[in-house]
Symmetry: C2
Subunit: 245 residues, 2 copies
Amino acid sequence: MTFELFYWPGLQGRGEFVRLAFEATGTSYVEIVQGKPPGQGMDGLLRTMDDPVCTDPPFAPPFLRVGDELIGQTANILAYLGPLLGLVGESPRARRWVNQLQLTLADLVAEVHDAHHPIASRLYYSNQRMEARKRTAELIDYRLPKFLGYFERVLANNPYAGGWLSEGAMSYADLSLFQVVEGLRYAFPRVMSGFAKAFPRCQATHDAVARVPRIAAYLKSSRRTPFNTTGIFRHYKELDRASPF
Amino acid sequence: MTFELFYWPGLQGRGEFVRLAFEATGTSYVEIVQGKPPGQGMDGLLRTMDDPVCTDPPFAPPFLRVGDELIGQTANILAYLGPLLGLVGESPRARRWVNQLQLTLADLVAEVHDAHHPIASRLYYSNQRMEARKRTAELIDYRLPKFLGYFERVLANNPYAGGWLSEGAMSYADLSLFQVVEGLRYAFPRVMSGFAKAFPRCQATHDAVARVPRIAAYLKSSRRTPFNTTGIFRHYKELDRASPF
């Protein structure tokens, strides 16, 4: 089975949540665009996504091609890969729970994106800087504490030992929580220095994922695109500030 | 098996996507808040959601209680109910595809909400009216055509007859597409009069769902909360305008 991953070049974006699942499990996958010379790959992505006769077109990247099937939507891709790669518990109930956690992380990711693009994702940040300042303040003061507080509670209440979100083993939701915390630390280093103390369990899960040998190796490799100001998590100095905690 | 649905009172919101699945299939369910006298039910919702020792807390309504399991996130609830209620095909591939469609509809729903609340869902519309005007223009000119054009293509390319999104039978994604089109028609009647002609397949699927006898009966019943300006789809006259088509 060959997993072909289609995602925009030059940024981690939502494709990174899928990459982490492959990398954490040593699963081989083919990047259709990332790492290819400029121009190469992109035509394959667009041709596949915009194929006028495709019966299961994705709305947007990331999407996987597995045989003749296209699988889109990050959480849907991970719900498919989780059982195949051993990144979710066996029971239907555990799978529903991890999917639910992933969807909540996806909501948070969308809010982080919209904090720097509150008016139009089509336009530049510089065209909506005033509004971004307002929405980012809202994100920092209300939304991040609500989301991180929620995951802190989930980690605290998990009856299994190990510090993972579901049961006693790392799931793809833990990988995604790592990515979200890592991205927020890049985007808002001042804010997050306080949050690390306010939400120590989220921080510990982040650190535990970063120590997984395959993940540690991946993060140091050239396959890991550095964070930058074209992705979801963006560092604009004017938007960072003292932590509310 | 008793399905208990927890959702905010007085608005359709995301709870309505779950209600439509129950109503379309004649499945009995218990509303914990909706339809109860003011004050009643709400304490049950908040107590359940905020239970400090709960091991599978939902982040937000809607959520279902089934036995001792809480199931949150609209798309996750529908992925659970779909097979039980016969609202999705049998094959894993069909289930992934319908889940993918539902997640894309969920993205559209979030964008519709943020069009009237681009800065803070915590604050009133009147506090972000200027920004709402800009983001709604973006929604109408770019995002709605992109999303509805996508579903139009999915409907056109479905090799099965019947005018449904997946295979030859109505799935929960069709119910959700109905709800989205219905909500947009309430919010933006002038815009949508043009869109009905530009996206005739979406309109036809909407109409086919509305004609399903159980749905038609539900829409006329007191169980269907009317659209209003506290929900996701809101009619503010100043935000509606001539259709771009």
